[in-house]
């Protein structure tokens, strides 16, 4: 259909509209295109959130109050007539939910506008008890908005909820999490800070609470104060849309095991699971047809079972440190990346068929120390297990402690007898001032097929100055590597 030579767009700005009759634009509002990163950690998220509110201050020079308008509100109200999404854009620019909610008392137009914000961030550093009240207010506002919709159009749901609090009581969490579960159709981030401000009454112990089932949420990130709370997974309900679940710092208690809650029937869409510094895992059994990435770190395990046909990445760090024998059964035929910085025994840890493995990361290997050092033994075993892998990431730690403390340390590289057939070697050297020629050469000799090598030198934080070691140090031996071709 041909258009006429010119297009005439007539713009008109005016006419009052009732808050709930103007739907939000179907296209993603500008302010939702902000920090959408799924990899949030508490410090970066807090920075980004603070920045959202501060940016306006940094960008705009301080505009004198009512500039050009005069002292007594002589200015006409040109804002209230604008569509919802513009007013919401202003409220969103305030940076946090509390500031936005204060506008509820301005006039009828503004009364429940804040509850329409798709993104709400609550910062209650010292006042965790306010969160239940805030979520209750949100719930009530949504209920009123829903009731006012005579045309059957639903109130747009909450898409992102961020809560940053100081240590909460279990009652507080138990009070507001179910409201979030009902209202949230997107991601939840809860960050609990460990710092107590002056004059705070610390809640008496973290107490036990149960995570409700979030049927509409897509991502849940719980960053709790380590060992403070006792968390139970919901015994029933399906996390229908959950793709990312990240849990840090809780102590788990029954009756529902974590594995059961995150396995396929109850988490049919789960793709990424991260569990760190979580206690009470015991035997973790995960059966998931959807999981692509699993990371378990610093969380005591007795036994690990993973049956995940679609799994591409598995990372296990320091979970079997406390047990006498690591027991694991990993069935992940599509696995491309395996990082196992943990105890390993080929008799009790079964890796199953992994013909797609591209990346292997092992524990560090101690170059000078006492023979029979377990970590070395396990790393060497793991290296012997795999025939071929494209990329190997290996860390050689030259000294465990200062050389004076160690009586007669031995050169331990001979314990590493075989490496998989590799194309790309990432060798990380923690030299602490010692010579690394012999140890790295030992590694190179075993992987003659490599096409690419990356050497990274790391220093331990405790070493303030990278000094060379004393002459006559054991790292001078062996010297025979220098003369070989």
């Amino acid at each position: 259909m041909k258009m006429t030579r010119s297009i005439w767009l007539l713009a008109r700005c005016g006419g009052p509209r009732t808050a709930w009759q103007t739907p939000l634009r179907s296209s993603v509002p500008l302010f939702l295109r902000g920090p959408n990163s799924t990899q949030l950690n508490s410090s970066s998220m807090a920075e980004r959130i603070e920045e959202g509110g501060e940016t306006a201050a940094k960008r705009a020079k301080l505009c004198p109050t009512g500039a050009g308008v005069g002292e007594e509100g002589e200015g006409e109200d040109r804002l209230s007539a604008l569509p919802d999404d513009i007013l919401l854009h202003i409220l969103n620019s305030l940076g946090n939910a509390e500031a936005a909610a204060r506008t509820s008392v301005l006039s009828r137009r503004w009364r429940r506008l804040w509850a329409l914000l798709p993104v709400l961030h609550f910062f209650f550093r010292a006042r965790h008890d306010k969160v239940p009240a805030a979520l209750t207010a949100l719930d009530a506002a949504h209920a009123a908005l829903d009731a006012a919709h005579t045309d059957g159009e639903a109130t747009p749901p909450l898409r992102r909820l961020g809560v940053i609090v100081s240590r909460s009581s279990a009652e507080s969490l138990q009070a507001w999490l179910p409201i979030a579960a009902r209202r949230l159709a997107g991601d939840l981030t809860l960050i609990e800070l460990n710092n107590e401000e002056e004059g705070d009454e610390p809640p008496c112990g973290g107490g036990a609470f149960e995570l409700p089932c979030f049927e509409k949420a897509t991502q849940i990130w719980l960053d709790l104060v380590r060992g403070f709370h006792s968390l139970a997974m919901p015994p029933s309900g399906v996390f229908v849309r959950l793709t990312d679940f990240h849990l840090d710092g809780a102590q788990l208690h029954g009756p529902c095991a974590l594995g059961e809650a995150v396995s396929s029937p109850r988490c049919p869409s789960l793709q990424r699971l991260t569990v760190s510094s979580v206690g009470g895992l015991g035997n973790l059994a995960i059966h998931s047809a959807s999981l692509l990435e699993i990371e378990l770190s610093g969380s005591e395990l007795q036994q690990l079972t993973v049956a995940a046909p679609a799994l591409e990445k598995l990372t296990v760090l320091h979970c079997f440190d406390g047990v006498s024998e690591p027991v694991a059964d990993i069935s992940a035929p599509q696995l491309a990346s395996l990082t196992w910085r943990d105890a390993y025994d080929p008799m009790s840890v079964q890796f199953g068929e992994m013909s797609n493995l591209q990346w292997l990361g092992t524990s560090f290997f101690l170059v000078y120390g006492h023979p029979g050092f377990e970590r070395n033994r396990d790393s060497a075993r793991l290296l012997r297990h795999f025939e071929a892998v494209h990329t190997l990431s290996l860390l050689l730690a030259h000294m465990w402690m200062s050389i004076e403390d160690m009586h007669d340390p031995d050169y331990l590289m001979e314990e590493m007898t075989r490496l998989p057939d590799i194309r790309f070697l990432t060798l990380i050297l923690l030299t602490t001032g010692h010579s690394f020629g012999a140890s790295s050469f030992h590694v190179f000799r075993m992987c003659t097929g490599i096409k690419k090598l990356m050497l990274t030198f790391k220093s331990r934080k405790e070493c303030e100055v990278a000094t060379a070691c004393a002459s006559g140090c054991i790292c001078d031996q062996p010297t025979n590597w220098k003369t070989e071709d």
Binding site: S27, G53, C63, G75, L106
Partner: protein, 169 residues
């Protein structure tokens, strides 16, 4: 998508303000800055060298001129490499753009103009400015600044306070 112009002239988009004043910007700038232009141009099958004209007859010349200025600046900034320096320069430019000479009436006119062609960048900037104006202020102060009439009944006001015990209002 419209075919490339046969002539060497750059195609322009013209905004017409109150009083019939014309303000032009290159079509490429309009495409980057204005959602309305993007959507409109999607529908055009044949344009040749025609100029797209947008009537903003309700809006004074000054805000329309500022709108065009903003769009041109943003489009130019978008093509240069991103860096901390560039970001800093942009912030400084925005501060000057919405400087002391921009009173509230002009601010709203600017917002109207931006809304009419869905110039998201400018909408965002003005909204942030308004947010900054009311941040940390009491409700009565905000009403004064924004000229909002309090049409709540005392009952409603009490209800709001009860519902929102978590904030002091």
């Amino acid at each position: 998508m419209a075919a490339a112009p046969s002539g060497s002239r750059t195609r322009m988009v013209t905004l017409i303000s109150k009083g019939g004043r014309n303000f032009k910007m290159p079509e490429a700038v309009a495409l980057v800055s204005s959602r309305s232009c993007r959507e409109a141009l999607d529908y055009i099958e044949y344009r040749g060298n025609n100029t797209m004209m947008i009537k903003l007859l309700d809006i004074d010349p000054k805000p329309v001129s500022m709108l065009v200025n903003f769009c041109n600046h943003m489009a130019a900034a978008a093509t240069s490499a991103a860096s901390d320096d560039a970001a800093q320069r942009m912030r400084e430019w925005e501060e000057r753009f919405l400087g002391d000479d921009v009173d509230q009436a002009l601010l709203y006119d600017l917002l109207s103009a931006a809304i009419s062609i869905q110039a998201d960048g400018l909408i965002d900037l003005v909204c942030k400015r308004v947010a900054h104006m009311i941040k940390g202020k009491t409700p009565q102060e905000i009403r004064t600044i924004l000229g909002i009439q309090d049409d709540l009944t005392p009952d409603q006001r009490d209800e709001i306070r009860t519902d929102n015990s978590w904030i002091d209002i």
